[in-house]
């Protein structure tokens, strides 16, 4: 996944400015940064949500320029996303959605993996708690098995026990259970607190400020730096690259 000089606006507000990021095959990157800095916008634009205006630049995935490709084409090409606040779908049972996403998926096994069997017969996300919504998102991604997985705050509102479950699911989706040289799937995760990083492996982290990356490096060191001097302290980027 390669993002090259991408500029994006919503209405007349520019959110991303000449944004550049490359996530290699088999790599998982974490994105940190305060609210409103463009992290979710970046993921939404990669997913292809049409509410944004692309002012310049391009998004390249599997060697294809997908900048203007429709959402469903991108999904079929292998891009998947766990939404931060997904909508509920009335009358659509989660187990039925799993089958729609992937007719070959083993729905009972996936639901069991996320300790979510009781929700298979419920309408997707309807009346789910914050933590349940996150597990519903993971269930859908496990059915979809994307090659590039985007996770928008998969740990917010989740209790400790389930953070572990979600972390393990992310590791499985990004093939962290396999040897590094065998991994082909990649991903990007937005997280505010980094707890989830105790349970999943991220290869690299970036700090976003004002619609651009100001610092990149080892996830552990970056988190430490943020704890020490806040996001603003990252503007000068003291982390070893």
């Amino acid at each position: 996944m390669e993002i090259v000089d991408l500029s994006v606006s919503i209405g007349d507000k520019q959110v991303l400015k000449n944004f550049n990021l490359r996530i290699g095959s088999g790599e998982t990157h974490a994105l940190f940064g305060p609210n409103g800095t463009g992290k979710t916008t970046l993921l939404n634009v990669i997913a292809g949500i049409p509410r944004y205006t692309i002012d310049g630049g391009r998004i390249v995935f599997k060697g294809l320029d997908i900048t203007h490709m429709s959402m469903d084409e991108r999904a079929r090409l292998g891009i998947g996303m766990a939404f931060q606040r997904p909508p509920a779908i009335r009358g659509l049972k989660l187990k039925d959605l799993i089958k729609i996403i992937n007719p070959n998926a083993d729905a009972p096994a996936i639901l069991k993996e996320m300790d979510f069997e009781a929700f298979g017969d419920r309408d997707v996300n309807r009346g789910f708690s914050g933590g349940e919504v996150k597990r519903s998102e993971m269930v859908q991604l496990l059915a979809q098995q994307p090659d590039f997985v985007m996770l928008d705050e998969p740990d917010s509102g989740v209790d400790l026990e389930n953070i572990k479950l979600i972390g393990e699911a992310i590791n499985s989706l990004t093939q962290k259970d396999q040897r590094p040289s065998w991994r082909t799937k990649s991903g990007v995760i937005i997280t505010h607190f980094g707890h989830i990083l105790d349970y999943m492996k991220a290869d690299r982290a970036h700090v976003m400020l004002g619609g651009a990356i100001v610092c990149s490096g080892n996830p552990g060191e970056i988190l430490e730096q943020i704890k020490k001097s806040g996001y603003e302290g990252c503007a000068g980027c003291l982390c070893p690259a």
């Binding site: 997913a47 292809g48 949500i49 049409p50 509410r51 429709s70 959402m71 469903d72 999904a75 079929r76 998947g80 996303m81 939404f83 997904p86 909508p87 779908i89 009335r90 009358g91 659509l92 959605l97 729609i100 996403i101 309408d123 859908q140 979809q144």
Partner: protein, 405 residues
């Protein structure tokens, strides 16, 4: 009401327009139909009829408590398969039971409008279903009203009596084959749900683009009795107007109306009218309407006359085309203290967010729309046997429900 008095009233109401719905010129339809061949059992029916019935969810071959099939004006099968239920064609039933005169046009006035008047002046055809006292059925009675001749005015008069403590499930499919260019169906139905009886009545309509439909239904529910009335219309029709009226006459009686409408064309004026006349009665009416072109008027009226009555109306519509219209008219009329009545009505579009969400999982825009529309129309109906619930679900699932085309 004596038969002579019914005829007299009907005569005076000839030409009396209905309060709601577009006016139908009865003269432009033929009132005489060629008689059809009567068969012994539902299995002996012509395959075209069996197939048409299946198409509206009536599996005549599967397990049931009995069947009634009417082709044009001829009752071709009326057969019970369970001792707890009696099924007859109306003309035979009126001959057999003198007491039926007391039920005839008791809940629907013969002079309500020209349609009821027309039925009152025609030879009786339709079904008589009686669930015997204390007898409970799980398998539904299956009925199919088949309008197979063009330009015919098909008239039906049905009576259901669920005696004390009985349980009865009825599924009726009303349908026309594709070759019928034009037709009219008028159905008078009177349901008597006696003390502690439980009835579910599910009706699936599948008409033609030039067919007009005027059902006229009256229901009375005695103490402890309950009704679950389900109406499904997913195929094109020229006009339909119906406003079934249920009266909760005894303490603790319950009525629930569910309507699922997918309109591509035509004028569809549907609803329900419930009178809560006894203490601790409750009523609920839920309608889900999708229009991609048709005009749908969804009425709901609840009148609470005693303390302790509870009523809720819900009408939600998805309007997916400028060519369509959804006009929701919820009415609550409270006439006593200590009652609870509420309604919820909304007309809107498919949420972009839901559409995008499903597309992010790889569904095309059309697939996502169809999934959302289907889910929207999937009402959770309580009090039905599982088989019947599944059958209703199958009907909505197999239809090709698109967004605006």
């Amino acid at each position: 009401m004596p038969m002579s008095s019914i005829e007299e009233k009907a005569r005076k109401a000839q030409g009396k327009a209905a309060i709601y719905g577009t006016d139908v010129d009865l003269e432009s339809y033929e009132s005489e139909a060629k008689p059809q061949e009567i068969v012994e059992t539902a299995e002996d029916l012509p395959s075209v009829v069996k197939k048409a019935a299946l198409d509206v969810g009536v599996k005549l071959d599967a397990e049931s408590s009995g069947a009634y099939v009417q082709m044009d004006q001829t009752p071709v099968v009326a057969k019970s398969l369970y001792e707890g239920v009696e099924i007859m064609d109306m003309a035979s039933a009126l001959k057999k039971y003198d007491y039926l005169q007391d039920y005839w046009f008791k809940l629907v006035a013969p002079d309500a409008d020209k349609y009821t008047a027309d039925v009152a002046q025609s030879p009786p055809a339709g079904y008589f279903i009686r669930a015997k006292k204390g007898m409970k059925t799980v398998f539904p009675v299956k009925s199919c009203l088949y309008l197979g001749s063009s330009n015919l005015n098909q008239r039906v008069h049905n009576v259901i009596i669920a005696e004390e403590g009985s349980e009865l499930h009825v599924i009726t499919g009303c349908t026309t084959p594709a070759h019928v260019q034009r037709g009219l169906h008028i159905g008078v139905s009177e349901f008597f749900i006696q003390k502690d009886a439980k009835v579910s009545f599910t009706m699936v309509h599948s008409w033609g683009k030039e067919v007009e439909v005027r059902p006229r239904t009256g229901i009375t529910i005695a103490e402890g009795g309950s009704l679950s009335n389900n109406y499904i219309l997913l195929r094109p029709v020229k006009t339909i107007q119906t406003f079934p009226t249920a009266t909760l006459a005894g303490r603790g009686a319950v009525a629930s109306f569910n309507s699922v409408i997918y309109a591509t064309m035509g004028n569809i004026d549907i609803g329900s009218n419930v009178n809560l006349n006894a203490p601790n009665t409750s009523a609920e009416s839920v309608s889900r309407v999708v229009s991609v072109g048709g005009e749908v008027i969804a009425r709901g009226r609840m009148t609470g006359r005693v303390p302790g009555a509870r009523a809720h109306l819900e009408c939600v519509g998805l309007l997916l085309s400028d060519k369509g219209r959804i006009y929701s008219i919820p009415e609550l009329d409270g006439q006593s203290k200590d009652l609870e009545m509420s309604h919820e009505a909304a007309v809107g579009r498919i949420s972009e967010e839901e559409l995008e969400y499903l597309m992010s999982r790889g569904l095309t825009s059309e697939q996502a729309t169809s999934v959302i529309v289907r889910g929207f129309l999937d009402i959770e109906i309580k009090g039905l046997p599982d088989d019947l619930k599944q059958e209703i679900k199958n009907i909505t699932q197999r239809e090709d429900l698109k967004g605006a085309g």
